[in-house]
C-alpha cells in the first residue's frame, strides 16, 4: 500500500525505490547557491553507493568545493507503465574528491561529462536526505 502525502496527494517513494531510480538514470540536475542566487545545471552522473558523483571543470560553479557546498540533486521522469510523473531529490553536501585511490576508482566508472571541457574535477554529493515523489494513481 503506497504512502500518500496528504498535503500534496503525491505518493511518497521509499529510500530503496529512490536509489533504484537514481541508479536507472544518466542525467540529473544540480542545484547550488552561487552568490545569493540559485543555479541549476544538468550533469551526467553516477550513483556510487548512496552518493552522487559527477565531473566538473576548473573555474566552474562547484570547483574548489573541497570545503563543501550544500547541493540539491534532482532527477525526474515519466513512469511508462502508468504514465505517471516521478521525481527524486537528494540534498546533501558536495565535495571535491581529492583522494588518489578514490579518484582512480571513480575514473573506472566511465562517466562521460554532459558538456565539453576536460572536467578534471570529481564532485561527490553525500546525501543528508533522499526523497522521492510519484503522481498518485487516480483510481
Amino acid at each position: 500500500m503506497p504512502t500518500v502525502d496528504h498535503r500534496t496527494g503525491l505518493e511518497v517513494l521509499l529510500r530503496d525505490e529512490c536509489l533504484r531510480l537514481l541508479a536507472s538514470q544518466l542525467v540529473g540536475r544540480v542545484g547550488v547557491v552561487v552568490g545569493a542566487w540559485p543555479m541549476i545545471f544538468p550533469v551526467n552522473y553516477a550513483l556510487d553507493g548512496d552518493s552522487i558523483v559527477f565531473r566538473s571543470d576548473d573555474g566552474s560553479k562547484v570547483s574548489g568545493a573541497s570545503s563543501g557546498f550544500h547541493m540539491s540533486f534532482e532527477i525526474d521522469g515519466i513512469d511508462n507503465a502508468g504514465r505517471r510523473g516521478w521525481s527524486v531529490v537528494v540534498n546533501g553536501v558536495g565535495r571535491e574528491v581529492v583522494d588518489g585511490t578514490e579518484l582512480a576508482r571513480l575514473h573506472k566508472l566511465s562517466l562521460e561529462p554532459w558538456a565539453s571541457g576536460p572536467k578534471t574535477h570529481w564532485i561527490r554529493i553525500r546525501p543528508e536526505t533522499i526523497t522521492g515523489r510519484r503522481v498518485a494513481r487516480d483510481d
Binding site: 500534496t8 545569493a36 540559485p38 525526474d76
Partner: protein, 134 residues
C-alpha cells in the same frame, strides 16, 4: 564534442517546447529543487503549487531559477535553458481567472495557488557530440 551558447530567441523557443521544468528556491542558503509542470504565458513562466516552500518564496518576492533540459544520452546530445526572475503569486482576480484557463496541470493533486516568474534573464547551451570515427 562542441558546446554552443544559444541565442535568447532560441532559448525561449526551447522553453516553450517543454512541459516539465525544475525551479530552484534558496532556503536558508541552500538551493532546493522542485519539478513543476509549467506553461509559457506572455513572457512569464506559470506553474501551480500549494502551501509550502515555493509559495513562501513567491510571497517574499524571492529570485528563483528555472531550468529545462533535454538530452539523449545515447548520442550524447542535449540542451539546457536556465531562466532567472522574481517569483510572484498571481492574486489579481481577473488575472487568476485567465491563468486558470491555461493548460497546466499541477504536479501534485491540488495546485490551488498559481505562481509566475518573468523571464528576466535567460541563457542556454547545446551540446553536440562529435561523430565517432571508426
Amino acid at each position: 564534442m562542441e558546446l554552443k551558447e544559444l541565442a535568447e530567441r532560441e532559448c525561449v523557443e526551447l522553453l516553450a517546447s517543454q512541459v516539465i521544468g525544475r525551479v530552484a528556491v534558496v532556503v536558508e542558503d541552500r538551493a532546493n529543487v522542485f519539478p513543476v509542470n509549467y506553461v509559457l504565458d506572455n513572457g512569464y513562466i506559470v506553474f501551480r503549487t500549494d502551501e509550502g516552500t515555493k509559495l513562501d518564496a513567491a510571497r517574499a518576492g524571492a529570485v528563483v531559477t528555472f531550468e529545462v533540459d533535454k538530452s539523449d544520452p545515447l548520442y550524447h546530445t542535449g540542451w539546457s535553458v536556465m531562466v532567472t526572475g522574481r517569483l510572484e503569486a498571481v492574486t489579481d482576480p481577473h488575472e487568476l481567472r485567465r491563468v486558470r484557463a491555461l493548460p497546466v496541470r499541477a504536479w501534485g493533486r491540488n495546485g490551488q495557488q498559481w505562481l509566475r516568474m518573468p523571464i528576466t534573464s535567460i541563457s542556454g547551451r547545446r551540446i553536440n557530440a562529435a561523430p565517432i570515427l571508426t
